[in-house]
Amino acid sequence: MDVLTLLYAILIFFPVFMLWRWVDGKREQECYILDYECYKPTDDRKLDTEFSGEVIRRNTNLGLNEYKFLLKAIVSSGIGEQTYAPRIMFSGREENPTHEDGLSEMEEFFQDSIAKLLARSGVSPQEIDVLVVNISLLSAVPSLASRIINHYKMREDIKVFNLTGMGCSAGLISVNIAQNIFKTYKNVYALVVTSESLSPNWYAGNDRSMILANCLFRSGGCAVLLTNQRALKHRCMFKLKCLVRTHHGAREESYDCCLQKEDDQGRLGFHLGKTLPKAATRAFVDNLREISPKILPVRELLRFMVLKFIRRWTQIGSKGEGSGSKTGINFKTGVDHFCIHTGGKAVIDGIGLNLDLSEYDLEPARMTLHRFGNTSACSLWYVLAYMEAKRRLKKGDRVLMITFGSGFKCNSCLWEVVRDLSDGNDAWNDCIGDYPPKSLANPFLEKYGWINNEDPSTFVVPR
């Protein structure tokens, strides 16, 4: 071989090598969940019917009409007897929270769940490269993320982000940040910490749209450890396939339906408007429209298009009634499990109807709502933990997560299960045998149902 050919061989080999390195680099950009830990507060924070009644009675601003409204709301909420409330409720100070209360509520969660997560996965805090914290209703100086860094003595060059105000869908926004960083940096660990701060946000007035938030939200939290290291693939639980975010803030009704503002007496509260279900449906449909082509098999998409075409063709002729609330696509062809944000019974029912899901599919979400209540952004992880505890997750299964948030946002993502998950989950292990319970009826009705029969003019608050 003469020198020239050798030279050409080297020159061709070099770019091929660079190309291979570039392709290999792309493979290192996958986002995996190494482990996650759902926070289970101590038993002395459990909120049962008796105590709920006590809390309602304590609020001197409420009258009979509000009681009736609350009864209706709580009975139809789907929340059970074992949900957790912040400590401030048990000391009776919920109307006068101090800054310290908010912070100590969060610190209790940080010091518990993150430590357990890191210990179990064998990752030391100094190895964490990215920290994303999303707690919607509390922003402190230094940020809550800095508190975590201080407590666990994390590294100096850590990339830290503290998101607030983004509502119940912020969990997936944090995962989005981690996902984007994974595409630029190799071999990183990311810790996503999700929770909600309830202590400083109790509403003490009597505006009905704002009292609802008091009844539904409960304490909870989750810490998730993500990585993009392919070497750890065999230890990981889930792989992220795609994540879609939809923001309907441009529309007035969507933006105004979930708002933090002062009522007529100047008390700060969380207003949930009447346009909420419609805004949610609209955002949800938009989001589905974007994510369906990414997660469903081609066969199903073709079938849907053909069906829609036929339907429209026949409707032009017959001017038939509108096609009900079913979308017509069968999501079960591309998705095996559904993780639905436990915003309330209405949300779960609505999604079940829209996607044509069976009771088996909706069971994890309903049971999570019953056991933990609406824990805001971290509710999804409790639903996932239920599925894990029930040993439903097998290798290759696909899990669709759907959340809604103020603004109005709808975020969804698809995870693929990397290995058979048969270890159960600490958050559910002690009570999973009791689920699903025979009856989800709320004891509130039998205990306080007499309120419905009372007359406003003769009603006296029982002491």
Partner: protein
């Protein structure tokens, strides 16, 4: 003869030696190339014209070889361009200019202070002393809700201030750049102490009817250095999303955070923090290459939260009466110096010319091996940057950094003047300072700018920009009507 004269001539000689050394080390490659070129030239001349022609004819190129060569060249070029990190351009930015009606001159501030804190003359005195030495001027502004006696910090008022500041800055940015709201792909908002639900980013999306698949992020609680954290996040996102525009909005909403108690350490932020905001457009589109003002070179973040003292030096807490305020500890300056050192250690190797790095390395080695008493060599950052934008956190911060980095008065002029005219506007102060330098007509193509910001936690973040085109006198912007009055002399103490 005064004894200082020999030293003087010595130091002049030393200066020239140093200059010569710097020139030598920084251009060493070029200097080595010269003898090589000379050698080749002599060799060629020796050969003679006939031999050269023979050499040329002997290289016969057939078709296969030409195709292979061109294929290889194209391939290598493509792979190189694809794997290069995308360049991030700062197309333009807009700073909010508060209306004159929100002005808080010293007399107004002291009058309000005396009326609100009428039972605590010592606290009033303390505020007066702080204001005298603060380096602020008479034209800084506070939001309308704080002008009430006592202030009325309702959520409505806070939202009102946010809308005023953010929408003005956004409108200004959109008109300057001609950007359509539908073209914004990424939106990052950072406001440390006010986070309503829905977030401020949702508020902007609502007002400007941005697209539904926008990627929005709302950072909060991250202090005065959050602006650079947002730039860092935008950079990471722009690496992943090609052909995108990112808008970063940095602001601080003062209304809900005005301290209403009388604990002294917590009254300090009241005297320094003022209304302000900035909106910045970043892009990775190649078409913006000609229009863009700056190019982002580096962003370096340092977080000292692991150290308890650093963590506790800027702390939000309740005082004895239960009023919430921000407590600034006494060793803030020392901690800032430490954080700066960490940041410099990372950024030094990235930006310093070879001459400085070599000197630093030699003195380090010398101190370790030969004699620990040698003075540590502080690298001369003036070699690496033409302009410095130091977060106008307060007069003490600017003084400390000027001393640490051995900067001249002209280098820190932008920071001092921004503090004088606008006060401490938290994360947006860096942009007011940059605008000052542009308004003075000092920004030339190729100039390098270093932005440094400190924040609670304790963080020190810095960003390095390179100027893309010479910026002629800016006719608009917050400095437009007063730039001719600056720089002003700011006395150490303004007697009130």
């Amino acid at each position: 003869m005064p004894p200082t004269l020999p030293d003087f001539s010595n130091s002049v000689k030393l200066k020239y030696v140093k200059l010569g050394y710097q020139y030598l080390v920084n251009h060493i490659l070029y200097l080595l190339l010269v003898p090589v070129m000379v050698g080749i030239l002599i060799e060629v001349l020796r050969l003679g014209p006939d031999e050269i022609l023979n050499l040329w004819r002997s290289l016969h190129f057939d078709l296969v070889q030409i195709i292979c060569s061109s294929f290889v060249i194209i391939f290598v070029a493509t792979v190189y361009f694809m794997s290069k990190p995308k360049t991030i351009y700062l197309v333009d930015y807009a700073c909010y200019k508060p209306p004159v009606t929100c002005r808080v001159p010293f007399s107004t501030f002291m009058e309000h202070s005396r009326l609100i804190l009428k039972d605590k003359p010592k606290s009033v005195d303390f505020q007066m002393r702080i204001l005298e030495r603060s380096g602020l001027g008479e034209e800084t502004c506070l939001p309308p809700a704080i002008h009430y006696i006592p202030p009325k910090p309702t959520m409505e008022a806070a939202r009102g201030e946010a809308e005023l500041v953010i929408f003005s800055a956004m409108d200004s940015l959109l008109s300057k750049t001609g950007l359509k709201p539908k073209d914004i792909d990424i939106l990052i908002v950072n406001c440390s102490l006010f986070s309503p639900t829905p977030s401020l980013s949702a508020m902007i999306i609502n007002k400007y009817k941005l697209r539904s698949n926008i990627k929005s992020f709302n950072l909060s609680g991250m202090g005065c250095s959050a602006g650079l954290i947002s730039i860092d996040l935008a950079r990471d996102l722009l690496q992943v999303h090609p052909n995108s525009n990112a808008v970063v909005v940095s602001t601080e909403i003062i209304t809900p955070n005005y301290y209403q108690g009388n604990e002294r350490a917590m009254l300090l932020p009241n005297c320094l923090f003022r209304m302000g905001g900035a909106a910045i457009l970043l892009s990775n589109r190649r078409s913006q290459r000609w229009r863009a003002k700056y190019r982002l070179v580096h962003v370096v973040r340092t977080h000292k939260g692991a150290d308890d003292k650093a963590y506790g030096c800027v702390f939000e807490q309740e005082d004895k009466e239960g009023k919430v305020g921000i407590n600034l500890s006494k060793d803030l300056m020392a901690i800032a110096g430490e954080a700066l050192k960490s940041n410099i250690t990372t950024i030094g190797p990235l930006v310093l010319p070879a001459s400085e790095q070599l000197l630093f390395l030699l003195t380090l080695v010398g101190r370790k091996i030969f004699n620990p008493k040698w003075k540590p060599y502080i690298p001369d950052f003036k070699q690496a940057f033409e302009h410095f934008c130091i977060h106008a956190g307060g007069r003490a911060v600017i003084d400390e950094l000027q001393k640490n980095l051995q900067l001249s008065a002209e280098h820190v002029e932008a920071s001092r003047m921004a503090l004088h005219r606008f006060g401490n506007t938290s994360s947006s102060s860096l942009w007011y300072e940059l605008n000052y330098i542009e308004a003075k007509g000092r920004m030339k193509r190729g100039d390098r700018i270093w932005q440094i910001a400190f924040g609670s936690g304790f963080k020190c973040n810095s960003a390095v920009w390179k100027c893309n085109r010479t910026i002629k006198n800016a006719a608009d912007g917050p400095w437009a009507d007063c730039i001719d009055r600056y720089p002003v002399f700011i006395p150490d103490v303004v007697k009130l």
